[in-house]
């Protein structure tokens, strides 16, 4: 006979999940709480409720201009990483190139290399060969670190696709470009779209590369927040942070619609 799972164990499992949930969500909840505070000091639970810090943020040049830079970079990165990543994933997936196993490892390598190592190398190369850092530097740097995400999500979708569709299209007389655009691209679209949203999210939130590659006038939103935290945080930092959390929630919702969050439990 199977012995039942002891009752105390089930109860402590529920307690464990709740405590872990608190650990995971606590910093986010605190940030949202602080942003609603009326007082000019950072305190949680907040003293009084108001939206004054959101007004503050929306009328602050420093926040708005850094948000604008972050948005520009994130959009550019999303476009370049999606295009380059999708092409690479299709090429790797067909497994007709010599060393395709090596290729996929190579394309995923920026994922495992610590960003700080890459950041310091990028800073050194750029200042030695090109000159002062610019939006272009951030664009290239973020494209490199987001590329693996696009390649991975696109490869995942392609590996479940029907390999005979392309062959069928070929026998029916479709040329290379038609096959690529009308058969293969629609097949990898869900993975590509999810990868694109990941790329946007990572670029928009990224702080390490952006901290090394900053100069006056080139601060992204996370770097701006970081700077405030180092010197004089007030609840307006919490308001900006809350807006960023809200954006993340939206992106997760979209990714769930496109690809399904259940996938995370099997990758």
């Amino acid at each position: 006979m199977v012995r039942a799972i002891p009752r105390w164990l089930k109860i402590s499992a529920v307690g464990f999940v709740i405590l872990t949930g608190i650990l995971l969500l606590a910093p986010l909840i605190v940030v949202v709480g602080v942003s609603l505070s009326q007082s000019q000091f950072i305190a949680f639970p907040p003293a009084g409720l108001s939206l004054r810090w959101y007004r503050e943020v929306l009328s602050s040049d420093a926040y708005l201009s850094s948000a604008w830079i972050s948005l520009q970079v994130a959009v550019l990165v999303t476009l370049s990483a999606s295009l380059i990543g999708a092409m690479a994933a299709i090429g790797i997936h067909r497994r007709k190139l010599p060393g395709s196993g090596f290729l996929s490892i190579f394309f995923l390598s920026p994922l495992v290399l610590p960003t700080i190592i890459y950041a310091i190398g990028m800073l050194m190369v750029w200042s030695a060969l090109v000159g002062p850092v610019s939006v272009l530097t951030l664009w290239i740097g973020h494209t490199v670190i987001t590329l693996p995400y696009v390649v991975r999500t696109t490869l995942a979708v392609l590996s479940e696709s029907d390999p005979f569709l392309e062959e069928a299209a070929q026998t029916m007389g479709a040329n290379r470009v038609q096959r690529l655009l009308l058969v293969v691209l629609p097949q990898c679209l869900p993975g590509l779209a999810a990868g694109a949203f990941f790329a946007f999210n990572i670029s928009f939130d990224e702080a390490v590369l952006s901290l090394f590659l900053r100069r006056p006038g080139l601060t992204t939103l996370p770097v701006q927040i970081y700077g405030q935290l180092e010197f004089s945080p007030d609840p307006s930092v919490a308001a900006v942070s809350t807006i960023m959390i809200g954006l993340t929630v939206c992106l997760i919702f979209v990714i769930d619609r496109i690809l399904g969050l259940q996938r995370f439990s099997s990758t």
Binding site: G21, P27, V30, A43, I105, I117, I140, A238, I245, I252
Partner: protein
């Protein structure tokens, strides 16, 4: 145009980008770390390895990373096990619980911990009320703060790596053990844990490298006195402007990470391939 040419054309932009904007910067960093005024030198490395301050930084980095990894594994394994065994609705919520912090900027999450752990924060308040801490007690700028903050940042990585293995386990193995008279805890110990070990090890290697190289959280929660390797690199780059020395430290980190990533690639590669 042959198939091969077409595939090459597809892969080429990515290859060029990674070669020029990824391999070249890393190579440049490695070169700079051994560059002195009169050519090749190992002076930057010997300076690091003979200075007790920097050896202390290195040792703290390794020590804290081990603690962080162990805590993440201790929480991550049971959490992933529960995720793998609840119904689809609850599982979706738990996945969300893991993904939401994972996708939120590290800067934002660290800010949350600064509020929670600071002098007037909730955690020291509770400890004071319980009589466990003195009146001016603050957790900010302590190693404990770094550990707490980093565990929250890295727990999702550990959970997802273990979950990936657990969802692929044959549920009949557990059922068989149970029908043969194994108690629940014994089944976990003798069946689930050994089978999940590759996931736990892979997750631990990943979490260890990430915590050894992370910099935003240790810098903000640890302050300037409690340096870790990555915060020390950042300081050399931005404050003392000693780039070759920074490159040498980054190279030490790089070699350490490579040594850990090789078994990691073996483990995850064997799983996928």
């Amino acid at each position: 145009m042959s198939d091969r040419t077409e595939n090459l054309v597809l892969v080429l932009p990515g290859l060029l980008l990674l070669a020029l904007a990824f391999l070249v910067p890393i190579g440049q960093m490695l070169v700079l770390s051994v560059e002195g005024e009169n050519g090749f030198t190992l002076a930057h490395f010997s300076r690091f390895l003979t200075d007790s301050y920097y050896l202390g930084v290195l040792w703290r980095t390794i020590r804290l990373s081990i603690v962080i990894t162990a805590i993440c594994a201790a929480i991550g394994f049971p959490f992933a096990y529960i995720m793998a065994h609840v119904g689809p609705r609850i599982r979706l919520w738990l996945v969300l619980l893991v993904i939401l912090p994972l996708m939120t900027s590290v800067v934002v999450r660290t800010f949350g911990w600064m509020v929670l752990l600071g002098r007037s924060g909730l955690v020291p308040d509770i400890l004071r009320d319980l009589g466990l801490a003195g009146r001016n007690f603050s957790l900010m700028h302590t190693e404990a703060a770094i550990v707490i903050g980093m565990v929250q940042v890295l727990l999702p990585f550990m959970t997802l790596s273990i979950l990936g293995i657990l969802t692929r386990l044959d549920p009949r193995l557990e059922e068989a053990a149970r029908t043969m008279g194994c108690s629940f805890l014994k089944t976990i110990r003798t069946v689930v844990l050994p089978l999940a070990l590759p996931g736990i090890v892979a997750g631990s290697l990943l979490v260890f490298t990430l915590s050894a190289s992370s910099f935003v959280t240790p810098n903000l929660l640890g302050g300037s006195r409690i340096q870790m390797l990555a915060t020390s690199i950042y300081r050399q780059v931005t404050q003392t402007l000693d780039w070759p020395f920074a490159a040498a430290q980054a190279t030490i980190l790089f070699v350490g990470v490579l040594l850990i990533l090789i078994p990691y690639a073996r483990l995850t590669g064997a799983r996928n391939g």
